[in-house]
Symmetry: C2
Subunit: 257 residues, 2 copies
């Protein structure tokens, strides 16, 4: 294989510590191009910018690595990379993250990090989204970098069909404390939401979304179990949302026409 | 069953013709409460509002139907409904739409309409997202209303596990031209994107996302095939993104630790 071309993006913005860590690892493997949002885009899910224009700005932020920030969402960043910065070039791997905070279980659904990676996979590019279970800006990414290097190396050697997507979550532990890597299924969980209700200076009510994630810890095959038990979770994921198991139960709808 | 409680939302905003059509149908079945974005939110995917407050305003817009508009995304609207307007009440069904434009195939991933419905299903509420394959503001929803009524009636009778989600797409045809309803899987497709590059009045470059959806029409089980062949497509969908078929191919990653 010639030197692979690796696209790096994220949802915490190009200035975050997580993407810097990921760029440092990625440059060991090939040519890296960064296209990332110009500011935090957490919780953007698979949002795209349709009703307003997008701006691109070249940045000199990572040592000798071609880098761009854009004004849109994480998914926009991948679309821009594919259609503009890396037009007519074959991208071998897309890396997203390292996210500051978990994207395990159903958090994948809300995640800009994973949506960017999924967008790449929908375009036939193998992609990995990395997330560390630590929301702090100054999170310690040393174990994440160690394992990201292993996983990126393995994924670059993967010979199967293109467009594969991995959701990688890393517990907030040292390299020594982490027990290894588990290939898992997406665990079940719920968000126990709480809206903060308050008054603004003009006396108008506003609401602010907060809450707490509650994961179902009993399923030994799930990413939640793996993370609770000091493993890194790797969930092969895809964009086919069909609930095949329920198809038969809904065939009765056809009789209705 | 007592009179069911039905939550109606959408992503085109509370003023759109599509949600008006859906409210008209829903009120035939039970008590309807509308919580919808105050403006267009297409392409918002599963975005949520984390970094700014959300406003709610009571509206008198649909005849005698309790209605609220909110400043957030479609998913925010469902979270608000569940936690504020309908707190402590059991929602029997969530309806989203009727969207102006297709959400078949991978469009479900970008869709605010379907993400709102999915958010409800993630909370254990049965949910249906409706989309008409007509982007125009003045689209003719008469066939959509006819079939929405059939499907809502059937879904209210469904006795299986809660939290089921249906992605319903309706071809741009008259009632007579529509051949019936097909239960399908999510078809494959791609977006052939094109960024319009232009200069603003200050001479700065901007990009605007456009493009064309290209669906794979050969799969006779897919929603794309059904719609091409004048059927309404119903895809049972869910939020479990695990690519089970690929799990074995990635077990080799575990040996890496």
């Amino acid at each position: 294989m010639s030197k692979p071309l690796i696209l790096v993006t994220n949802d915490d913005g190009i200035e975050s510590k997580g993407i810097k860590s990921l760029v440092e690892v990625a440059t060991k493997f090939g040519e890296v191009v960064v296209v990332a949002p110009d500011g935090p885009q957490s919780g953007q899910g698979h949002a795209i910018t349709l009703v307003s224009p997008i701006r691109i700005r070249k940045r000199k932020i990572f040592n000798g690595v071609e880098s761009y920030e854009c004004s849109g969402t994480p998914v926009d960043a991948v679309k821009l990379a594919k259609n503009i910065m890396l037009k007519d070039r074959e991208i071998d791997l897309c890396l997203s993250g390292i996210n500051h905070g978990s994207n395990a279980s159903l958090n994948i659904i809300y995640s800009g990090t994973m949506s960017a990676a999924m967008e790449a996979s929908m375009k036939g590019i193998n992609a990995i989204g990395f997330s560390l279970l630590d929301y702090s800006k100054d999170a310690d990414f040393s174990a994440s970098k160690y394992y990201a290097e292993k996983l990126i190396g393995s994924m670059l050697e993967y010979q199967g069909p293109k467009g594969k997507l991995l959701n990688v979550n890393i517990p907030k532990l040292s390299i020594e404390e982490i027990k290894g890597i588990k290939v898992c299924e997406q665990g079940e969980g719920t968000w126990d939401e709480e809206f903060q209700e308050s008054l603004d200076p003009r006396g108008e009510t506003y609401y602010w979304l907060g809450g707490r994630f509650v994961g179902e810890k009993q399923n030994l095959k799930s990413d939640i179990w793996a993370l609770e038990n000091n493993y890194i979770s790797v969930v092969p994921s895809h964009h086919n949302l069909t609930d095949y198991a329920s198809m038969d139960s809904f065939v009765y709808l056809e009789d209705n026409s």
